[in-house]
């Protein structure tokens, strides 16, 4: 073995590539052996090739700073993260179960609210939900699917068990990077793909397009699908362009669309108005229709909700789906699965304390230094308290915040997130990772789950922050077919 794996240890954590005795795990075996034959120069050559590929393929994300908007090259670590297929199959079933139940939950909340009437889901949680949209009550989207696209964040604990950390049912991003990461690693390690059975990930856009087409209210014509973006200043604009390009859909902004007196949605083109049947929107609910939601929104299209309610356009995800994208709702997901499917959750939740519950809150306030506190409705890793790394002042601030608005906070134990070998200065070093698979729900079929997902890695030693806006990187995720293992 060369320098790469020498001294590689990740004590106290589940490592994705090596077991506790330092042996390569079966799914990683071939990879470890192969890379072990590389010299430092060869590795550096491959790393440089990856950088060049990312640059020439134009894979970027946008960050804001005082100096304005910057397109940054997508941060990518060349060492892939292998997961054996048999493990992934269990995760996939768990995700399908979870998203099915969540869709039934959202549909119920906007219809009879049986789960509330039956006392399983507290009425006061619903009453205070920032993402419940009364304007959506009574709607029945096709197949009762509300959250067409879900991105769930998974982590492994010290024992290697997968847990769901959160479900993103509003406008989850990252799937373009999942696919592009694979293209980059194929360029960097073509030999490995020739030798081993790594399951493909690039069918996502076709699956998504099929699912979106199936939502079209017009069954007699080829549907016009549009991707609705907030515009070039959005941090995920690269992905919006990518999705539209991969699906052959039009990339539109709110001002490109209008709703006519027939309550149909049209895009403004040089050929005249073109009817739009399905909108994959990457704009948050609150901004999609100034007639109904925020009147100051410049990103939306007046009348869009009217057209949607009239059944003349499909919107994915459906307005209001975000009600289930709430960290308090998250804590109820095991109950939600039991209630609607009469099953136990196949993928566990991270144990969570709800600050709205008196005994839970006392526990949280007494243990702020060991817990992670999260606001109910933030994303991107903002507004969190990571207890073991917090200062007394920060804990005091969060104690006040929690007491003022207990409904808005949950707390979870700090997890011993799994690590994966990551190339740092020419050697492999353990760094913490998470995983975001994407789940596409469809009216007449089981939900489609990506083969693996986007692995995000915290590049700083010991760090748990994987967000690309805050110094995180990413890896290609390999689901390795078992016959090869």
């Amino acid at each position: 073995m060369n320098d790469l794996w020498r001294d590689y240890r990740s004590p106290g954590f589940f490592d994705e590539a090596f077991d506790d005795s330092g042996q390569a795990r079966s799914a990683a075996n071939a990879l470890v052996r192969y890379l072990g034959e590389f010299g430092r120069t060869e590795l550096e050559t491959r790393r440089a090739a990856a950088d060049l590929a990312i640059k020439s393929m134009g894979i970027t994300f946008t960050v804001y700073s005082d100096a304005g908007m910057i397109d940054r090259a997508w941060p990518f670590d060349i060492l892939p993260r292998p997961i054996p297929k048999h493990e992934w199959d269990r995760v996939r079933e768990g995700l399908q179960q979870r998203v099915t139940a969540l869709n039934m939950f959202v549909a119920d909340l906007y219809a009879d609210q049986r789960i509330v009437a039956d006392g399983v889901f507290p009425r006061e949680v619903l009453a205070q939900s920032a993402n419940f949209r009364p304007e959506c009550v009574g709607m029945r989207p096709p197949g009762d699917i509300w959250a067409h696209i879900c991105g769930s964040d998974l982590v492994r604990d010290g024992a290697g068990e997968f847990y769901v950390l959160e479900d993103n049912l509003r406008v989850p991003s990252g799937v373009s990077y999942m696919v592009e990461n694979r293209l980059v690693s194929k360029r960097v390690f073509p030999e490995l793909f020739a030798q081993h059975h790594i399951l493909p990930v690039d069918d996502y856009a076709s699956e998504l397009l099929d699912s979106l087409n199936a939502l079209s209210p017009r069954k007699d014509v080829t549907p016009n699908v549009a991707v609705l973006t907030p515009g070039v200043f959005n941090s995920a604009f690269f992905e919006h362009v990518w999705l539209a390009g991969q699906m052959g859909a039009e990339l539109v902004q709110g001002s490109d669309l209008f709703v006519d007196s027939d309550d149909c949605v049209y895009s403004r083109t040089i050929y005249g108005p073109q009817r739009v049947d399905v909108i994959y929107r990457r704009v948050d609910d609150a901004f999609i229709d100034p007639e109904v939601f925020r009147a100051d929104s410049m990103l939306g299209t007046p009348g869009l909700m009217r057209a949607w309610r009239a059944g003349n356009v499909a919107i994915a995800n459906a307005p209001g789906a975000g009600v289930a994208d709430d960290k308090v709702v998250y804590a109820f997901v095991p109950e939600i699965i039991r209630y609607y499917l009469d099953q136990e959750a196949k993928l566990p939740n991270v144990p969570s304390w709800l600050c709205m519950n008196d005994t839970h809150r006392e526990h949280v306030l007494a243990n702020l230094d060991s817990l992670v506190v999260k606001p109910a409705n933030e994303s991107g890793g903002y507004g969190m308290l990571i207890g073991p790394r917090s200062t007394a002042a920060e804990r005091k601030q969060f104690a006040d915040l929690i007491q003022r608005n207990p409904r808005n906070y949950i707390a979870q134990p700090t997890l011993a997130l799994s690590t994966a070998p990551t190339l740092i200065d020419g050697s492999a070093r353990p760094r913490h990772v998470d995983l975001r698979p994407f789940i596409v729900s469809r009216p007449d079929d089981d939900a489609f789950v990506t083969m693996g997902g986007l692995t995000r890695v915290a590049l700083r030693e010991g760090s748990l922050v994987v967000n690309s806006s805050q110094g995180g990187g990413s890896k290609d995720t390999w689901i390795v077919a078992d016959e090869e293992v």
């Binding site: 134009g58 390009g245 539109v252 040089i270």
Partner: protein, 308 residues
């Protein structure tokens, strides 16, 4: 194609062309100065008149010194037609439409935008200025080349070229308008010997000198230059050529008859006049009329394709 993107491409074409033609104009004028008699106080304000921004200039600068005029035309971001502003606007228009043009065009416009933001501050010396202007012209030409050779002849291409051709016709009429007003004034007798030099400068500011020589084959005269720049059907910066090129693009776009009609009307104005015989106020009137026609074409395209 979305109307918004069509509009982005049209204006990207206009702004890139405007940045290029302003750079050309500045270089040709600076060169002309070297040939002029020492005693002549050159009126830099003429350049401000060409871009049609006299009022804004007067508000922003105390006098029309060379340094002020150059700052206003090159680097002043509060002047919407300065080279820096044009390049920034072209970049903003291309930002949304970047997937419709070859990738290198986006890289070029970014590079050029950064270049002028920096180098545009160092144009006091005529040598440095000439180098900066050359760089802008070359890069604008590079972008046009990338588009010409790398872009399918689709609606995106048509819109970009339409903007470019209209801007080119517009700049040609402006240059003739302002420069002929100076030149045709027979009273300034001490300048008379320099008139040929000045007409050559007009040709040079439109990169037309070489082609004029080859195709007109008489000595450079005012009438000859005006006829060439307005009515020649083969020279790419002549108004007639630009109008024909605009029609070529328009006929490929959907339901363009109103827009084609607007261009036809401009061509008719050109045909009705005999540009080589126009002098003094009649030339000036004709050029005003042509400006109105060009602006009507712009408005017709605007209302047909961009505002619905």
């Amino acid at each position: 194609m979305l109307s918004r993107l069509a509009q982005n491409l049209f204006w990207a074409g206009r702004y890139i062309e405007r940045a290029e033609s302003t750079s050309r104009l500045i270089n040709a004028t600076s060169l002309l100065l070297l040939d002029m008699p020492r005693a002549t106080a050159f009126d830099w304000r003429a350049l401000v008149e060409i871009v049609g921004a006299e009022d804004l200039f007067a508000q922003r600068y105390p006098d029309d010194s060379e340094a002020n005029v150059m700052r206003f035309l090159v680097a002043d971001r509060l002047h919407p037609s300065s080279i820096a502003s044009c390049l920034a606007s072209a970049r903003e228009n291309l930002r949304s439409a970047r997937d419709l043009v070859p990738r290198e065009v986006w890289e070029d416009i970014n590079g050029l935008h950064l270049f002028i933001a920096d180098e545009g501050q160092h144009i006091e010396s005529r040598l440095a200025r000439s180098r900066v202007m050359d760089h802008v012209v070359r890069n604008a030409r590079h972008m046009a080349g990338l588009i010409e050779s790398g872009m399918s002849r689709d609606a995106a291409y048509d819109m970009f070229m339409l903007g470019l051709q209209l801007e080119r016709a517009d700049m040609t009429t402006r240059i003739i308008d302002v420069r002929s007003a100076d030149l045709l004034d027979e009273d300034i007798s001490e300048l008379r010997p320099y008139q040929t030099v000045q007409w050559i400068s007009v040709l040079k500011s439109l990169s037309a000198f070489q082609m004029y020589r080859r195709h007109v084959r008489v000595r450079v005269t005012g009438a000859g230059v005006i006829r060439f720049l307005l009515a020649d059907s083969a020279f790419p910066r002549s108004v007639r050529f630009c109008l024909n090129a605009a029609t070529d693009r328009l006929v490929r776009l959907p339901t363009s008859s109103r827009c084609v009609g607007a261009v036809d009307s401009a061509v008719q104005v050109l045909n009705d006049a005999d540009p080589g015989t126009l002098t003094g106020y009649r030339l000036s009137e004709f050029l005003d009329r042509m400006q109105i026609e060009l602006s009507a074409i712009n408005d017709t395209i605007q209302s047909r394709y961009f505002q619905q």
